[in-house]
Symmetry: C2
Subunit: 142 residues, 2 copies
DNA sequence: GCTTGACTTCAAGTTGGCTTGAGCTTGTAT
DNA sequence: ATACAAGCTCAAGCCAACTTGAAGTCAAGC
């Protein structure tokens, strides 16, 4: 496939595809003159990248996951990411409940509604744990 | 409180507090000479901002929520945000399950594991809906 | 065999959310 | 009265993830 076909099939602009290739997230299988040629399986990979981005992973993190496929480090990395997502899910759930309550509540302002504050405090607790984890990871990696 | 106290209590650097003030997310209650003075309730507000940021809201979105407090538009806005979070939660849950399965799975590569692909496809479907929503919102607002 | 339009590279620009630096002001302690 | 740590402003810088623009290349159709 040439870049235009991949762009159409994936919904991503050609510029993004070149950028991802440069970053090592996808590979072209060769060239026709100057023009890149891609294998059809790049579409699936791009879908995975979009999914990962949407779940809040950086391009570098996604690259790490791909690069360590099949390795043992991969399992560890994947589980760590899954746990991170668990914290995030709890936090978003508390936030969602907080917003729904705030919309329904008739306290004059949300800061004065104990239920709202309690819901958000739950989110806050998870947040702190998550932040600490991230910091630990940063320290480990540097 | 002066800015250093707020910084310490909130965990945010003074530069961020000035930046938030400039953006209208917080207000100082006056000055002592050049120095900003804050009301203690700014701490709660900053916690709310951090929470919102962590839940994926932009500073502008958070500002909108504050600015429309008590108004009817606020209820609508809050519920819309809560619904957005619902989509995001579903997506993250599918992603988490996908990652956990991938870590446990012994298919030679994840693209060949039907369970993994099915899990991610669920995430993908939610994503599409979310993206469309966001696009709609953008069109509406401009 | 020539045009043309889709591709190429490389550098620079964009956005959001801050941070940093230089140079100036001032409340507080000595 | 003076020193100075802590504030202040304003402009510029930084990072991620792209996008845009200019200028060049070339495969394919006529």
């Amino acid at each position: 496939m040439d870049i235009a076909e991949v762009a159409k099939a994936s919904g991503l602009p050609a510029s993004t595809l070149r950028f991802y290739e440069e970053k090592g997230l996808i590979q072209s299988i060769g060239r026709n003159g100057l023009r890149r040629l891609f294998n059809a399986n790049v579409i699936e990979r791009l879908a995975l990248i979009s999914l990962g981005r949407n779940a809040g992973f950086s391009l570098d993190e996604i690259g790490d996951m791909f690069r360590s496929e099949g390795l043992d480090i991969n399992r560890t990395l994947l589980l760590a990411k899954a746990n991170e997502l668990d914290s995030k899910i709890k936090e978003l759930t508390a936030m969602r409940d907080g917003l729904r309550h705030a919309a329904a509540c008739n306290a004059p302002n949300h800061f004065e509604c104990p239920k709202f504050l309690r819901l958000l405090r739950v989110a806050g607790k998870n947040r702190v744990r998550l932040v600490n984890k991230l910091k630990e990871n940063k320290v480990k990696h540097t």
